[in-house]
């Protein structure tokens, strides 16, 4: 073989290897594509006072009119802040003062579902009809399925939830139990507990500060019972994560197996087999892995939000009130539970978080 021929063959091999790598990388990228490219977005249509957005890189930046809010991002309003967001179907979300609101996504039965979560504070929704699955409206302790509805969600500093329906029908679910609310009906849900009795609410909107103050007073009467209730809710997220992880590991192993087979098929120029394997990565094992990954992140981030905004908030309340009497039994008992939550969090949740989440 001449030197020119050898070089030509080497070049072809090189190009072939590069093409193989490109195709395989392409397949891997395609695995992620549906998660990012079609992610739900909301548009900021009104801002009043101080409102910030925590972006996907974990940076906190002032929120302005026209700014998009991507899946995985949060709005954090200050005492005078308020922000109105609009979904692609013109549904309106009003984030009120002292609120943490997060837009995210999960996949249920192969279908993507938008999650609108209020960790603390209050958010009003005027939702139009959605094509496909409607959004899930969540707080730390409850989830509501809605479609063409007007409602307000209040998330208390103690992890409690209050859902008030102004128009339409809302199904509020917590700990596997469901309560259906109609116009002018409301229900309260304590963290880690099923929804309480629904009650009629007609008239003026509930003042969040007054309601939240009542929740805090209730918590301070028995802080140990209060943090135990939140721990129950945290345990639901921890269990959700623990149940998802083995399935995710299995799906990852299957994806890696198909990926190796794809590499071989491309190297062997078996286009038919390669196409079949690419399809498998997109629609079969790849999709399973993607769904499980999204759900794993959902549990980890839900735990983080509840731990930070509710457990952290309760710790600040207790520390600041008991700083001059640190040996008080009630404070020591609270701290014992608080440290236990932190220990579990560090052991089971933190390994699944990244710095941008913080």
């Amino acid at each position: 073989m001449s030197r020119a021929n050898t070089t030509h063959t080497e070049d072809r091999n090189c190009i072939f290897k590069a093409a193989t790598l490109f195709l395989v990388l392409g397949a891997v990228l395609l695995l992620w594509f549906p998660v990012t490219a079609f992610a739900q977005e909301a548009l900021t249509v009104y801002v009043e006072g101080e409102a910030n957005a925590k972006n996907l890189q974990g940076k906190i930046l002032p929120l302005g009119i026209g700014d998009p809010l991507k899946s995985g991002e949060s709005v954090i309003t200050k005492t005078t802040g308020r922000a109105d967001l609009e979904l692609p179907n013109k549904s309106l979300i009003q984030v009120k003062p002292n609120t943490v609101f997060t837009l995210s996504e999960v996949e249920l039965e192969g279908e993507k579902q938008t999650v609108l979560a209020t960790t603390v504070g209050s958010v009003s929704y005027r939702l139009n009809k959605f094509t496909g699955r409607g959004p899930s409206i969540r707080t730390a302790g409850a989830a509501a399925g809605v479609r063409g509805t007007e409602l307000t969600v209040y998330a208390g500093a103690d992890g409690s939830t209050l859902v008030v329906v102004e128009q339409g029908v809302v199904a509020v679910e917590a700990v596997g139990k469901e309560v259906t609310l109609e116009k002018n009906e409301a229900v309260e849900v304590k963290p880690g507990s099923p929804p309480g009795e629904k009650f009629t609410w007609i008239g003026k909107q509930i003042d969040y500060s007054t309601w939240n103050q009542g929740k805090m007073e209730e918590f301070l009467k028995d802080p140990v019972a209060g943090i135990d209730r939140v721990a129950l809710q945290l345990e639901i997220y921890r269990k959700g994560l623990a149940d998802t992880l083995p399935l995710l590991r299995k799906a990852e192993a299957e994806v890696n197996k198909v990926y190796e087979e794809l590499k071989k098929a491309v190297e062997a120029k078996d286009e038919a087999r390669a196409a079949q394997l690419r399809d498998e990565l997109l629609k079969g094992v790849g999709k399973d892995r993607r769904i499980l990954f999204l759900n794993m992140r959902f549990y980890a981030l839900s735990y983080l939000s509840l731990r930070r905004y509710v457990v952290g908030g309760l710790y600040l309340q207790m520390k600041s009130r008991y700083i001059t009497k640190p040996t008080a039994l009630v404070y020591q008992s609270f701290l014992e539970r608080y440290r236990d939550i932190l220990r579990k969090y560090e052991e089971t949740i933190v390994p699944h978080l990244v710095e941008a989440d913080i």
């Binding site: 101080e50 925590k54 974990g58 940076k59 906190i60 954090i76 200050k78 005492t79 002292n98 943490v100 603390v120 500093a157 930070r308 905004y309 952290g312 908030g313 710790y315 600040l316 309340q317 520390k319 600041s320 009130r321 008991y322 700083i323 001059t324 932190l342 560090e346 933190v350 978080l353 710095e355 913080i358």
Partner: protein, 183 residues
Amino acid sequence: MKLSGVFWKKSRGAPCRMEKAGLLRQGRHSFVLLGTALVMAGILQAFLSCATVPYVQKEDKVVKLVELINRGGVNEVPGLASTPFLIDGEIVLLQKDLSEFWDNLHKAGFTIRSPRVAQNRFATVEDAKYFRDSMEVRTFFKKYTDRDTSLVQVRSADGTFFLLLGREVKGYPRMLGFGGPVQ
């Protein structure tokens, strides 16, 4: 044409020496100007570098801040303690939570008696351990502290406190974190 010829001759003859002298003068002038410019640039550079020199906390300002905490006046100084803020191992992102914390401390009768600055140095990520040795606190240090942030250890009759402090806000060091008391 003739006149201009004379003029031309003059300008090409005698003025030539004058030109040389002028050029020398001009050269000296340019040299002085260049030197002045260099000195000015040096001064400017010194000023600019001053602006980027890490900010060192002044102990009297720390004591003034402690007095403000003791008076319950933290919330009265806008921007003195704003979110994100670190309290022990908790990253506070809601301003309301932070304001309530300072209010509650005052209502509880909290004071830092006989404060003494025991340590005052630039903060590093390793200092996270004085608040809580966790991924969250280390991330807080990475994200929200810079070369102007100091870790100040205050010893007092009420225990030891750790303060994360930045540049001044209305005469007080801006607070980024508060940890303690550690007995």
